[in-house]
């Protein structure tokens, strides 16, 4: 079953009077259940815009997104609730994605207390138990629930954000550059966590990144965006070994490797 089908989707920003920015230009993409997709490109390539469209936080200027084989209509409450109940997001900047005035426990359980999700009946009802489950899943002590986000380091905050995303037992996880704000040495821990969780819970993953090696490590499929247009899609292994476009090849070559001078 297709989870998302993106059909000829475009997104423009800016009013008609001024020069509009074409963030996405007629993009086609089909994401099947259980797949792990990486969306790769430079800043300004439209990768985050695509993710926001999938998350139902924004609507396309043209084209259509189908979610679980039905058109996604943000104006239609039931369509939106279906999306919200099964899709969760992890953001790039763990500084800004956690409300500084809330305790970690309330942050993580917010999705469980949201009206539409509760009424949909698809989310766990025992909030306390679920909180402890996800805290354990991301490797945080239960005492963390009573503390505030600023008491945690960047890597730990990203764990909190992941715990919040997992709390309502989503089928699909969307992640926007989940490790690019972190030190290289912390990156490994968060990538391990994402890998384990996606495998254990059988999630469908869509992860945006500018780093092809990160995508290769976590994903099985990759879509390469350049200036709003899709330049290449395919199994990650194939794209990594034999990139079909020069742009992908350039992206790959640009990633600094330890071996560059040393080997």
């Amino acid at each position: 079953m297709s989870v998302f089908v993106v059909e000829q989707v475009s997104r423009r920003f800016g009013r008609r009077s001024s020069r509009p920015v074409q963030a996405l230009d007629r993009v086609d993409l089909a994401i099947e259940a259980g797949q792990r997709w990486g969306v790769v490109g430079e800043s300004g390539s439209g990768k985050t815009t695509l993710l926001r469209l999938l998350a139902g936080l924004d609507r396309p200027s043209a084209g259509q997104i189908r979610f679980q084989d039905r058109p996604l209509d943000l104006a239609d409450r039931s369509s939106l609730t279906r999306l919200r109940a099964s899709v969760q997001l992890v953001f790039q900047d763990p500084q800004s994605s956690l409300d500084p005035r809330m305790r970690v426990g309330s942050i993580i359980t917010e999705p469980l207390r949201s009206g539409p999700l509760r009424r949909s009946g698809q989310v766990p009802t025992d909030v306390k138990a679920r909180l402890n489950e996800v805290l354990e899943a991301v490797g945080l002590p239960q005492a963390a629930a009573r503390r505030y986000p600023h008491e945690f380091s960047g890597g730990q905050r990203q764990r909190i954000a992941i715990a919040r995303a997992l709390a309502p037992k989503p089928d699909i996880l969307l992640a926007d550059e989940p490790v690019s704000a972190l030190d290289v040495s912390v990156r490994a821990q968060v990538l391990n966590l994402i890998n384990d969780l996606v495998a254990d819970m059988g999630l469908t993953l869509v992860m945006v990144s500018h780093d092809l090696t990160v995508v290769r490590h976590v994903c099985d499929h990759v879509a390469v965006l350049k200036a709003g247009r899709l330049v290449e899609t395919g199994p990650v292994d194939q794209v990594y070994r034999r990139p079909a476009s020069d742009y992908t090849a350039a992206l790959l070559a640009a990633v600094p490797r330890l071996g560059d001078r040393w080997d």
Binding site: R52, A55, G56, L57, L80, T81, R84, A85, V87, Q88, L89, F91, Q92, D93, Q95, S96, S97, L98, D99, P100, R101, M102, I107, E110, P111, S114, G115, P116, L117, H150, A161, R164, P168
Partner: protein
């Protein structure tokens, strides 16, 4: 250094509040008792701040006057918060033509200083403390609309708002659960600053003779009356002026102190 503003602010505000509270049960003399033989006395042990041209004890009258000052400030600022913050909040969350119109109107009102608005109202309805309070309150509303609007916009730009939206949290819940707690400290700081503006406006109106009648003791009015005898003695004019300055300084310092105490991560929002 930062703590200092807060402590001094609290001390000065505390002094004014204490004077008002004590005046309810006790003042050194009757604040309305006219004693012509005692007129225009300088400060002494029996009259700490001296007496005015009617022989009334200045300290007693100042203490009673602080009640008006605080009352006008509290009512005007509360009015402005209760009306202004929700409007600013809603216009920051729902950005339609209605919000735009609201902001435009508030900008126009902003061009009308509190004192001018009060003068207009007084011209129509006659001078009274109530009219002055209403005018100051109404004129302060746009301040809070603007401030709450700007603060709401910066909170709404944070990722945690998208996180909340993406799990179906309604706009109302977002406003109450995320935006309001995050802008509350800024509202508090603004309230303190607006409180001192309100005190200044009320004092100005009273000084111009546009607020309280001569019988009601207010600091501005006392200065107006004291100025007449300026070449005989300066005390009746200076003492209430000092009181106003102390109160305004207190609330200004309190506002600065509160702002410095704000969580540094919250300051990024502004």
């Amino acid at each position: 250094m930062r703590r200092l503003s807060l402590i001094m602010g609290l001390a000065l505000v505390g002094l004014v509040v204490a004077a008002a509270a004590v005046s309810l049960v006790w003042t050194p003399y009757d604040p309305n008792l006219v004693r012509p033989p005692d007129r225009l006395l300088g400060p002494s042990w029996s009259h700490w701040l001296g007496t005015d041209r009617m022989g009334i004890d200045l300290l007693s009258r100042l203490m009673v006057g602080s009640r008006t000052t605080l009352m006008v400030g509290v009512i005007a600022v509360c009015l402005a918060i209760v009306v202004g913050v929700p409007l600013g909040l809603v216009s920051g969350i729902r950005r339609g033509w209605l919000s735009q119109l609201l902001l435009r109107v508030s900008d126009i009102m902003f061009a009308l200083p509190a004192l001018l608005l009060a003068i207009l109202l007084v011209a129509v309805r006659g001078a009274s403390v109530a009219t002055a309070t209403w005018a100051i309150g109404i004129a302060t509303v746009p301040v809070f609309v603007r401030m709450a609007h700007a603060a709401t916009l910066s909170v709404m730009a944070q990722d945690f708002i998208d996180a909340a939206r993406s799990c179906g949290t309604s706009s109302a819940a977002i406003a109450l659960r995320h935006v309001l707690p995050n802008i509350a400290p800024i509202v508090g700081v603004q309230a303190s600053a607006s409180f001192s503006s309100a005190i200044l406006a009320e004092a100005g109106l009273s000084y111009l003779g546009l607020a309280a009648p001569a019988t009601t003791p207010t600091w501005g009015r006392m200065m107006r009356d004291g100025q007449v005898d300026l070449f005989l003695t300066a005390w009746p004019a200076l003492a209430p002026g000092l009181a106003i300055a102390v109160a305004v300084l207190g609330f200004n310092l309190l506002g600065d102190g509160l702002r410095d105490q704000l969580d540094p991560r919250l300051r990024e929002f502004r």
